[in-house]
Point group: C3
Chain length 266, copies 3
């Protein structure tokens, strides 16, 4: 880590208040040369699954040794652990609530340690509710300065992963569900592109339904169907996605996270 | 371009997902010293006109040789072209859909070339739908590293400009329309300040209507009229703007993009 | 200031338009080595109090000599003053409208001067309405280049502070009000944590009401009460805050800025 001072931030702090600025300032106060890159601060409040998806979409694109700091932390201040680990080429500092799930899927942990922060100052307001500023940021600064991430604390006996429902298959169908609605209203599902390609080498023969409604057929990109028409595609993270060209599939299909999605030939 | 590593991003990716982070990571993976500046990621989805206005408001303010990357690209993955050009002191990388319109108005192209990206990896999910990460970002990184922008591909036979309706004049009136509603609810019109000043050297004699409603008279700035009162002014990009002091003109005048605006003396 | 090129931005410009990008470009055009950090651009339009709270939450976390530029400026273009001052370890450039109130509370002014900008170019559109780009940014650039902030203009005879209502106490109660609703729907009050701790050494005995509704009891952090249950806590800036675990107190308590908050033992 000695040479990279690149650190990304992914939080659900929103952009209206001073919270994100406080975290950035606290990092820079420890490591003034930190180069801070925002991944997102508009993850829906307390939405660990959305944060996990955003993290896995963005983090692996960064240069080796980038530090990724994730602060989506609805149980801040409880005895939930804060973890630091190296997964593949990157270092992640995150609350132990499953936000690391899709990173673990692709990059096995090379190291993982509990962060034991300095004892909190008794009676200092906020030290229980703003670990972003008071724990994550100073720890991040010390990592950027080169501190060995394996020395922050012991290895955890276990750590939390999200329980994402797996899609099911029978002879004629793959059945999954919507796990995310993105900014464009696209519906991201839990169905891996690989499973579809294995089952149906010719995906053009496949049609989709979502919560009982026709969700169209596979197309390589949005504008290959008529405006306002639905389509199915492999998204940029390797999942099946339902979309509407220049429209919002979540509205057209009246679907949200949890809606059932069925793919079948015919 | 050798010495500047300044690159701006203007997209409609929103700030909730990992898309913007993926683009930033992919740029930094090619050019780790890139200095990435966000112009906006909250351009309304697929809104090329809004993006074109945001680009022309912000881009010319940057230092010479800044690279501006624009990814508002509803036809991503089709045969629409990706272009790179030098307009005035800056370099622009953008989809050929008219988003460059207001830059071209002010800065003639010194060079313009089609970007021929490396052949896509067959079967790699996402290569058709996320050119921001898979094409724009690596090309941007190579430009920042000093690659000659005239060598990415051939000059295009033509390129796309938005068809913005021109205002009309008769003896007593200038008639235009609303082309943008900004964050404050201000209504930006297609009427150039210069046309008004030429027709009426004394703008204080001019009054405006918008969709038939009284939109007030010219004032030099918002707080020169009473709170909640309407006013007309020359905006910071040289267009006529309708506003309401500490209010939202789009609400007070019940007007949106396309609403007719009439200026007349009296 | 010679060595720090760190500058933060706090505005109500939103993130949809090109306004923020224009300010960043104009700063970098004067000081290309500026390191620009966003605090927030989503302060509600014209909301000086929200801006003042965001500034005081974030700015003091930054390294010494950071320059903080605040552009929440509903009376832009009038004779309201623009001020530059050193408060504690930091430099602030801001419109004289009270946005500095909570910084002054904690850090007495070491210097304070009126910024006399270069005379505006007569007839240049926008010079009256976009001081962010045309005045604040170039002045910020010159400060980052090392210009002495005491030489921009005279000391002001006085400057504006917000008139925040003070909480009141009687034998059994502290009565205050909501002064801010944050991104999570938490209700920030004007009641200082210190006043509560002084009156009731055992805060666990205290209960809160907000606009007549039960707002719960003190807890050290959100997840120490049941999901959807209300709680009272000391927020990260030392104020009393009303919250709902994984919920939105502003909705549960149907409360907004101005709602009365009463703390009492029992």
């Amino acid at each position: 880590m000695a040479r990279s001072q690149l650190v990304t931030l992914l939080t659900d702090f929103g952009s209206r208040d001073g919270y994100v600025g406080a975290v950035k300032g606290a990092i820079l106060s420890v490591c003034p040369r930190a180069q801070i890159i925002d991944i997102s601060h508009d993850v829906p409040a307390h939405d660990i699954l959305a944060g996990a998806l955003g993290l896995s979409a963005a983090a692996p694109c960064f240069p080796p040794d980038t530090l990724h700091v994730v602060i989506i932390d609805p149980t801040v201040g409880t005895d939930r652990k804060i973890l630091v680990g190296r997964f593949g080429r990157h270092v992640y500092l995150f609350p132990d609530n499953g936000v690391i799930t899709f990173i673990v899927d692709r990059f096995p942990a090379e190291s993982l340690n509990v962060v034991l922060p300095p004892a909190p100052v008794v009676g200092r307001p906020g030290s229980m509710t703003f670990h972003g500023r008071d724990v994550f940021a100073p720890i991040a600064g010390r990592i950027l300065l080169g501190q060995d991430i394996r020395k922050f604390g012991p290895q955890p006996a276990s750590y939390t992963l999200l329980d994402i429902p797996a899609p099911t298959q029978d002879e004629t169908r793959i059945t999954g569900q919507v796990i995310h609605v993105d900014r464009f209203g696209n519906l991201v599902t839990n169905i891996p592109a690989a499973a579809v390609m294995q089952k149906w080498p010719n995906v053009e023969a496949v049609r989709a339904t979502c919560a009982g409604r026709d969700a169209g057929r596979f197309a390589a990109t949005y504008a290959f169907v008529a405006e306002a028409a639905p389509l199915v595609l492999f998204d940029s993270s390797g999942r099946v996605e339902l979309a509407v060209n220049r429209g919002r599939a979540c509205d057209s299909l009246a679907a949200d996270v949890g809606a059932p999605v069925i793919l079948r030939a015919g």
